[in-house]
């Protein structure tokens, strides 16, 4: 589905965009988990957040680049 409308091929710059996604996912949800930990005085939400963020980011990469 979602046929590539711009019709461009894979590009060496895409690798950097993928890294930006992974980084954002980990930092964003990991950070959210950390804040939750600090608030609730627990210590496992960082891990949950980072896993969630990492998985979401990989899924996002799949959505943006993996489907054709």
């Amino acid at each position: 589905m979602s046929h590539e409308s711009s019709g461009r091929d894979a590009n060496p710059g895409d690798a950097w965009t993928v890294i930006a996604y992974l980084l954002s996912g980990l930092l964003l949800w990991g950070g959210a988990g950390m804040l939750l930990d600090r608030w609730l005085e627990t210590s496992f939400f960082v891990l949950v957040g980072m896993l969630l963020g990492g998985v979401s980011a990989i899924y996002l990469v799949y959505i943006r680049y993996g489907r054709s």
Binding site: S5, S6, G13, T17, L23
Partner: protein, 259 residues
């Protein structure tokens, strides 16, 4: 220690202090070497392209060939390949960006000059901010703010609840991480490269003046310094290319239609 030369002065390894250059006139006039080099680079680029375009002939001379080579490389190799049909509007910005970064980077290995201005974070930061403004402005103007952010944050074909996880990642990666990595990548590469050359060349010099056996060891240090200088040339051109390529890619992303 006698064989290894006199262990006189300690060797002070190069550090980030080597990047904090004094004011040239030293009287409160805020003009430093990197600033001067950036000014010089604009003059060089202006003269180069003016001279290359003046008396443009169908059979190009050497200078015209070089000028058209740079322009053609960015226009065809970066802008047209990445952006697609609407690429022509963005060629001037991309060519300017590429030539500006490449000249400033190569300053890092030109004898006597030997300082890459992009190793001071302010210069890449400003370039990244300009690129950030350009691609966001283009996206908002093309699609309107609402649809621009909707296309950015809500890729199609995803179950609705998942957007709760994905949309913030998209937003952060586009609006925050992109300009940050753009600036940091260029800065860090130039910073590290310059530091590396300092280590080998200043280290080699220290070994040489220490005398004795250490003086002989300075030869491989200098040799490696020369090899790394050529390696730096590669990195400098590559980083200019990557910066330009990513800017083009972001512009293409801002223009792309999602369905």
């Amino acid at each position: 220690m006698t064989v290894l030369g006199k262990a006189g002065e300690e060797f002070t390894p190069p550090s980030s202090r080597d990047f904090e250059l004094p004011e040239i006139f030293g009287d409160g006039t805020i003009l430093t070497k990197p600033m001067l080099l950036v000014l010089l680079s604009t003059v060089i680029i202006a003269v180069f392209f003016y001279a290359a375009a003046r008396r443009a002939a169908i059979v190009p001379g050497k200078l015209q060939f070089a000028g058209e080579g740079v322009y053609g490389f960015v226009r065809d190799g970066v802008a047209r390949d990445v952006i697609g049909p609407d690429f022509l509007k963005f060629v001037p910005y991309l060519v300017t960006l590429f030539s500006f970064i490449v000249v400033n980077n190569v300053f890092g290995i030109i004898p006597v000059i030997q300082f890459p201005p992009m190793s001071r974070i302010a210069f890449p930061a400003v370039l990244a901010i300009i690129s950030w403004l350009v691609f966001n402005y283009i996206g908002v103007r093309r699609k309107g703010a609402f649809r621009y952010f909707k296309d950015m944050m809500f890729p199609p074909g995803v179950p609705k609840p998942v957007y709760l996880l994905l949309a913030p990642i998209e937003f952060v990666s586009t609006v925050v991480v992109r300009p940050l990595t753009l600036a940091l990548r260029l800065f860090a590469n130039m910073f590290a490269g310059h530091l590396l050359l300092l280590v080998f060349i200043l280290g080699g010099e220290h070994l040489l003046v220490s005398g004795g056996l250490l003086a002989a060891v300075s030869i491989p240090a200098f040799l490696l310094g020369i090899v790394l200088t050529f390696f730096e040339l590669l990195v400098q051109v590559l980083q200019a290319y990557i910066f330009t390529l990513l800017t083009a890619l972001y512009i293409a992303g801002a223009l792309a239609d999602e369905h």
